[in-house]
């Protein structure tokens, strides 16, 4: 018997009887339990020891052990992971917090994935590198409450005061008699107790953490992954399921005029063809429309789609040409734009400067290209929907699928499976709505599979951008003026029509929050209109902003004959605490959605990671011919990260990366083993975007279609020697982001190293053949 919540009766991905599932109460039920008043719906949310912006998001956070923890009579503890797993290890890390704080033995813990429900589990938007900083304390509170309830149950059993018992490694010890009782034997009694209120919780001394901070726990899915048993979104199975691939309009916003499916329907295995309506602008996460081919297998559906003849109306984006668009943006940054920060008098200081250094940088659209393309499996029947998804936002997905089907949210059950990578693309769940609509139209369970061609044709791309920086240096070599013009279509254009400036979210990713110690600092944002769907791509606008800013530091150092590291540390300036809301002209500073009071800009922490990364790589050592060192340091997602790169460029311009050292200060951390993995991965994804990755458009159509022309990094070209150094931090230093930051400093560090090695300055990414001699 399982106490606390009703453990999942259905393992994701197993073949189940759908009709039976609909009569269940749902995956998780707290029905029969006594629930403390502080956990009633809509009542007080978890009080975090550090104040976050979580309550501004739908559902906020939840810290109720009845929701997250189940203990069965054999002692197996089941902990729900409410955040979606895309490869960061969050499905392990947050349950590990619960387990550690409740003194559970990790070997007796099972992790299950919560279905999509922002209200029940707290916000589930798994992005923004925010899972740990928002949920560390609620999960810790959950674990502490459970431990105290187990202690209380044991004390009652022995009829002694609760101060005479102590929970310890999956059992409670009687401090008077030294008797012990296991968690399994206490589960029923503990589950009947009221949950202690947050203010009464006693927490473990962090010195007693068994798992947190040790890096000794491997991800819970590791064995299954190595055996091919881990269940990803693409692996969902439903009885009677059919497979759909969709011919989307080749240009975003386009519509079907007419189609001829006669040849398609002759393809063996093809069963049906169904049209999907094009959603109006702004598209947000709504389907693109098109013609779906439904077949007995994905392979047959793909073959059927090849025979489909569709006449399209390409719509308003039919003339998008990324070459012409780039020229427009390059023109735009030669002129003043909307002023978004204006400290001192940058224009005057540039005029009176002894030297002005100017450069313009370009970063193209990028595609997420997660190895698992977008996919979802849904069955709509009897006014209800069950879907297995690969999705970063299962909670909002539940809400929007319900809206699309015209049914109540409670009638939609979303099971998030493992994602085969996501990087921001799978926040947008258009493909889940497609699966739901196709199931509704056919009455059958439908798996929608996007092919790689679909994925690259209709990504929610990283934006395209041109950054121009003019820096003024006085006669003593001090940088006294900085004017940064940043031009890029905004991701907000996906959600609002006619949104043609960068939003405070994007401007707050390195532009207006620039921490440099420069008295005259002006930021401008010329307008740019979007012609494709723009979304979040790992570390988002920090990519172009950090690339431009950190490259410019290298350019200034070179112009002044200074060492690049020294120049960067001088520009960061002395250790101080900054609040960008006090910078002149800065409006709606967002600070990654979290309070500046908890996470101000601390320049000393930025300098320290720069020092660590450069020290570790042996900055200043003599190097073989063709080698060079470069560095970049950046604050993003509230963390401080620096990467130092050693590059080697041969006589023909072939580039290799013998060594990378990354230092990260992410405050208090849970799983250093995964932090290292994510930093190593950042160097690989960074290599891809710096060297080769680029999406271009002509006539509104993406010109790249698969991995022969959208190039990712391969094992022969990436740095295999990546050192990762995590700045130690205790609980007084609030946790900050890890998933995204490692990507931000890589490209500028690499390009600064290339300059050191060759004297050639890369201002346009990708590098491509720019180094060829």
């Amino acid at each position: 018997m399982t106490h606390m919540f009703e453990s999942a009766l259905i393992q994701p991905g197993t073949v189940v009887n759908l009709s039976r599932r609909f009569v269940l109460k749902g995956l998780v039920s707290a029905g029969t339990l006594v629930i403390g008043t502080s956990f009633l719906p809509g009542a007080a949310r978890a009080a975090s020891a550090w104040k976050t912006g979580a309550d501004l998001m739908t559902g906020g956070t939840v810290n109720n052990p009845h929701v997250f923890i189940a203990i069965d009579s054999s002692g197996v503890v089941t902990i729900l992971a409410s955040r979606a797993e895309m490869g960061t290890g969050i499905r392990t890390s947050l349950p590990m917090v619960v387990a550690d704080e409740m003194e559970a033995d990790w070997s007796q813990v099972r992790v299950e994935q919560a279905p999509g429900d922002n209200i029940k589990y707290g916000n589930q938007d798994t992005d923004g590198s925010r899972s740990v900083r928002h949920f560390f304390w609620p999960m810790r509170q959950c674990g502490a409450a459970m431990r105290m309830m187990l202690e209380q149950a044991a004390a009652a059993r022995w009829e002694i005061d609760v101060s005479s018992v102590r929970a310890q490694n999956h059992e409670v010890v009687n401090l008077v008699t030294s008797e012990v009782v296991g968690y399994g034997a206490l589960a029923k009694a503990a589950s009947a107790l009221a949950v202690p209120p947050v203010e009464a919780l006693r927490f473990k001394d962090p010195r007693d953490f068994r798992y947190i901070g040790t890096g000794a726990i491997q991800i819970v899915d590791l064995r299954d992954i190595t055996m091919g048993k881990a269940t990803y979104g693409l692996d969902a199975k439903m009885p009677g399921m059919k497979f759909a691939v969709i011919a989307h309009p080749p240009v975003v916003g386009g519509k079907v005029v007419s189609y001829d499916a006669s040849e398609t329907l002759k393809v063996p295995g093809v069963e049906k063809v169904v049209t999907l309506a094009t959603s109006p602008f702004p598209l947000a996460f709504q389907p693109l429309g098109g013609v779906a081919v439904i077949a007995r297998s994905t392979g047959s559906a793909i073959k059927g789609r090849e025979k489909l003849k569709v006449v399209w109306d390409d719509g308003p984006n039919a003339s998008y040409d990324s070459v012409a668009y780039r020229a427009q943006m390059e023109e735009a940054v030669t002129k003043p734009g909307l002023v978004v920060r204006d400290d001192g008098d940058a224009e005057g200081a540039l005029k009176s400067a002894a030297k002005v250094i100017s450069a313009t940088y370009y970063l193209p659209h990028l595609a997420h290209a997660s190895m698992e393309p977008p996919t979802a499996t849904a069955h709509v029947a009897d006014g209800k929907c069950v879907a297995y998804v690969s999705c970063q936002w299962p909670g909002d997905c539940q809400t929007d699928v319900a809206k699309a089907l015209g049914i109540a949210r409670e009638n939609v059950t979303i099971y998030p499976l493992l994602m085969g990578g996501a990087f921001g693309r799978k926040s947008c769940y258009d493909y889940v709505i497609e699966a739901a609509l196709l199931s509704k139209a056919t009455g059958q369970p439908i798996k929608v599979v996007w092919t790689r061609e679909d994925d690259l044709q209709h990504d929610t791309y990283h934006t395209v951008s041109v950054e121009r920086i003019d820096a003024g240096v006085d006669k003593d070599g001090k940088v006294v003026a900085w004017r940064h013009r940043t031009c890029a279509p905004s991701l907000m254009s996906t959600f609002k029509n006619d949104y043609d400036h960068q939003s405070p979210i994007e401007l707050g990713m390195g532009v207006v929050d620039n921490p440099f110690d420069i008295p005259n600092l002006r930021c401008e944002n010329p307008a740019a209109k979007a012609h494709v769907r723009i979304g979040w791509f790992r570390v988002v606008s920090n990519i172009p902003h950090a690339f431009a800013i950190q490259s410019m530091v290298g350019e200034i150092a070179a112009a002044l004959g200074r060492d690049q590291r020294d120049m960067l540390l001088e520009m960061i300036g002395p250790a101080r605490t900054l609040d960008p809301r006090t910078f002149r002209g800065v409006k709606d500073f967002w600070n990654y959605g979290d309070p500046v009071e908890t996470w101000p800009i601390e320049t000393g922490r930025l300098s320290r990671v720069v020092e660590i990364a450069t020290d570790k790589i042996g900055w200043g050592r003599s190097l073989p011919k063709g080698h060079g060192l470069g560095v970049a340091g950046h604050r993003c997602f509230l963390s401080y990260i620096a990467t130092a790169v050693e590059v080697a460029v041969d006589d023909k311009g072939n580039l290799s990366i013998p060594r990378v050292e990354t230092a990260i200060d992410c405050g208090f951390y849970i799983n250093p083993e995964r932090i290292r993995a994510l930093c190593e991965g950042g160097a690989v994804m960074g290599t891809a975007l710096a060297k080769n990755s680029e999406m271009t458009f002509k006539n509104g159509r993406a010109q790249q279609s698969n991995f022969h022309d959208f190039l990712l990094a391969r094992i022969t070209e990436v740095p295999l020697k990546v050192g990762v150094h995590i700045v130690p931090a205790d609980l007084n230093i609030p946790s900050s982001g890890v998933g995204e930051p490692p990507l931000a400093p890589f490209a500028p560090a690499l390009c600064n190293a290339i300059f050191a090695a060759t004297g050639k300055r890369i201002r346009n990414l990708p590098i491509g053949n720019q180094l060829a001699t």
Binding site: T226, K229, P268, S297, M371, N706
Partner: protein, 152 residues
Amino acid sequence: MVTLQVNGRTYSYDGDPSVPLLWVLRDELGLTGTKFGCGIGLCGACTVHIDGAAARSCLLTAEQASGKEVVTIEGLDPTGNGNHPVQVAWREASAPQCGYCHAGQIMNAAALLAKTPKPSQDEILTAMNGNICRCGCYQRINEAILLATAGV
């Protein structure tokens, strides 16, 4: 009717014989350990063993696979316990992040080691160059293969 030998079992497939083996394995036989990444043989996510050699199951039709011995990640360790030396080494190195491409990576590495038990570093990189990992686990993939080579 196409007869397939997969992981030591015999299957009959009554569908279109020109459909890629990948989709027959996944959608018809339910062997979803083999992954789809590109469909044109450029990423290696769908790697299986055909008569002992690594092959991209997206490039091979069901018909072409008929009469051959197909092994997928599910059958790499015939005992079903996931203890092939490459799988063990993979866990030792904590190689995966999202893990999606890793079935293909493991199958490719296992085929390499079956043919060349002590590959040089260059041989490892050359053999693994066709397998893309977007999360960027290459450092640990390399480490895992070195571990497997050394016999963990």
